[in-house]
């Protein structure tokens, strides 16, 4: 007993010091957080719609709530940017948890627009075969909990049910994505990562057709995603141990030596090891999300198995959010460590570009091919990250905006090409598509040319920007590798175009469904963004350039 009595003061000192200081209520700048709050509010409203609105009216109500929420959030972003929060008034909000600055607002605006276009494709109900009893059928399982092929599922399909939960899930994922590139400390970064990931795992499992593939993709994405976020969290713990703070700016100060790390810890646990291992593990978690080699293994399976409108949304929006977070972590928290992380990122970028471009050549499924193409694009984006200058940041911002609309459009076109088994994703089925439906084939060819980086498309402007920034930042060999990989990638994009326009159409080939105004608008917006950012990119470059300074 006496031993505990002696030890007591040391144990309790933590509590007594904390209790002695007066507790101040946190100062929350609601106006600066409004984009995130509006999206979260719309998502919660969507849950209430799901609970209280009769099934018949749910689809229309959900779509209206989602689009109104997105419009409100975009207006909030534009309002904040117009009042100068992107430049002169950039600041840390919510006690340093959320950074409201140029990159945050640029990426949040991009994400909201991308989600709006993605929601249009998700809301499409005119492509699946319909009957008189069930006039509207969408791409999602009638009842996700029912076993595929069971009586329950058939009954739900006959009753015309649908998983309208996908709208609030999209909004929740978006709210995480809005937090992710704006996070000012590591805890917010982790919470943003989880909020964006968890709804996406579920949405992958919701396909109406090929449900086994869909569920398999969800399991793979979930287990690997949870594995990666555990690494991310342990890295966070180690960085916290090193710096004694979770603030990105605070960590940067400890790295530069402006603030002292914990002396006792440094003596006993090798502070530099904590910094290096912790930083590496956090970057590992983020590289998993962007799908960079060697953390790319989930990408093809998940892109192939998930319902195609979800794949489009996920491929576009996750990449924007995760690259935003990666930029902020490397440029705000670890800029002084760049001599340590740049060589590693060089290797990752070269591997990512090469593997993405080379393996895509061998693919026979159009969704898998686009997945490997997205891996290659992650590599091109990493060259911009490695540049390490302001131009690199603005180039990556521009590339993300350009690439995400191309991706959305391409996956929306994939939903149109169908046969009796649903979407005809095998590339051999696309033979001669250009003769049967020239408009769809020409649009898809435009997106493929943009992926390949042909001039007059947004892909060229983006690649030009990241490669010139990387060359300016002293990474000329990387640019050479990037251009070579672009050439390899152009081969398989052009091969698809040749198949569509110069191969004989098959007698049993797929038909091209006529989309409703929803998917039509999504594809049109994607194509328009591709052309506008390709022919007149200057205003977007200027916007990205103005938005390219991080607040610390």
């Amino acid at each position: 007993m006496s031993a505990t009595a002696v030890a007591a003061p040391a144990v309790h000192s933590l509590w007594t010091t904390a209790a002695a200081a007066p507790i101040h209520a946190p100062k929350i700048e609601y106006a600066q957080l409004s984009p995130i709050l509006v999206v979260l509010g719309a998502a919660v409203a969507g849950i209430l719609v799901e609970a209280f609105v009769p099934r018949r009216a749910r689809y229309g109500t959900q779509l209206a709530v989602t689009l109104i929420g997105l419009a409100g959030a975009f207006a909030a972003v534009v309002g904040l940017a117009a009042t100068g929060y992107a430049t002169t008034k950039a600041d840390l909000a919510a006690m340093g948890s959320i950074a409201v600055d140029g990159p945050s607002l640029f990426l949040q605006g991009t994400l909201i627009l991308v989600t709006a276009v993605g929601v249009l494709a998700i809301a499409e109900r005119g492509l699946e075969p319909q009957s008189r009893e069930v006039p509207h059928v969408d791409a999602f399982a009638p009842q996700a909990a029912a076993v595929p092929g069971s009586e329950d599922e058939k009954a739900a399909a006959r009753a015309g049910w649908s998983t309208t939960e996908v709208f609030p899930l999209t909004l929740f994922a978006l709210s995480g994505m809005l937090v992710f590139p704006a996070a000012g400390d590591l805890l917010t970064l982790f919470i943003g990562l989880e909020i964006l990931s968890l709804p996406l795992y579920l949405m992958c499992a919701l396909a109406r057709r090929r449900r086994l593939l869909s569920q398999e993709s969800a399991v793979k994405y979930f287990l690997l995603g949870a594995f990666a976020s555990a690494f991310f969290l342990f890295g966070t713990a180690l960085l916290y141990g090193y710096a004694g703070t979770l603030d990105l700016g605070g960590i940067a100060k400890v790295v530069t030596g402006d603030a002292a790390p914990n002396a006792a810890l440094n003596a006993s646990a090798h502070g530099d090891a904590l910094l290096l291992i912790g930083g590496a593990m956090i970057v590992m978690g983020l590289l998993f999300k962007v799908g960079a080699v060697p953390f790319h293994a989930w990408t093809p399976d998940v892109y192939q198995g998930a319902p195609t409108p979800i794949t489009g949304f996920m491929a576009a929006a996750t990449k924007v959010a995760a690259f935003g977070a990666l930029l902020r972590l490397l440029y705000v928290a670890l800029p002084e460590m760049r001599w340590d992380w740049r060589p590693v990122m060089w290797g990752v970028a070269i591997l990512t570009m090469a593997l993405g471009a080379i393996v895509a050549v061998t693919q026979t499924d159009v969704k898998r091919m686009l997945a490997y193409s997205s891996i290659a694009h992650a590599g091109f984006l990493l060259t911009g990250v490695i540049a390490g200058n302001k131009q690199g940041v603005s180039a990556v911002l521009f590339y993300l905006a350009a690439y995400s609309f191309v991706t959305l459009g391409a996956f929306a076109v994939v939903t149109l090409v169908r046969d009796a088994g649903g979407e005809a994703t095998h590339l051999s089925r696309w033979d001669g598509l250009g003769r049967r439906s020239p408009l769809v084939a020409v649009t898809f060819a435009l997106f493929l040319l943009a992926f390949a980086g042909i001039p007059l498309t947004s892909g060229f402007s983006g690649k030009f920007a990241v490669f010139s920034a990387a060359a300016k930042g002293g990474a000329v060999p990387l640019v050479v590798v990037g251009v070579l990989c672009s050439a390899v990638a152009a081969f398989f994009y052009v091969r698809v175009i040749v198949r569509m326009f110069f191969a004989e159409p098959r007698a049993d080939g797929p038909s091209v469904a006529v989309p409703s105004a929803l998917t039509g608008t999504a594809i049109a917006v994607g194509a328009a963004a591709t052309l506008v950012l390709g022919v007149f990119p200057q205003w977007a470059f200027d916007l990205a350039d103005k938005a390219s300074v991080f607040i610390r």
Binding site: F190, Y201, F222, L223, A226, L233, L265, A269
Partner: protein, 99 residues
């Protein structure tokens, strides 16, 4: 006792969890190993909070618990629906998509 030992223990638990994810074949066990990794993170956070004399790390531990609970909800829903479809929770059986 020197609190650094708890950091070593956390690293050990994390390694055991990571090895389990890579070695075990049952999706539920893999998932439990991920939870073990998250708990190892919690132990590290609390230990570092004690060493720094701050409360940040303990706050993070609470957030981690909430995140882990949310992950269980989503993860078990997915794993159970796959189990009901395939009558198997082995991650090796889920191999419809291959290169």
């Amino acid at each position: 006792m020197n609190p650094v030992n708890y950091v070593y223990l956390a690293a050990l638990l994390f390694t055991i969890g990571a090895a389990g994810v890579l070695i075990r074949r049952n999706a539920i066990v893999v998932f439990m190993c991920v939870e073990l990794m998250l708990n190892a993170c919690n132990l590290a956070f609390v230990t570092f909070a004690r060493m720094h004399g701050g409360l940040d790390g303990q706050i993070v531990a609470f957030f981690t618990m909430v995140v882990a609970a949310a992950e269980v909800v989503v993860g078990l829903a997915i794993i159970v629906s796959v189990f009901r479809t395939r009558h198997s929770a082995s991650v090796d059986d889920a191999n419809l998509m291959k290169l």
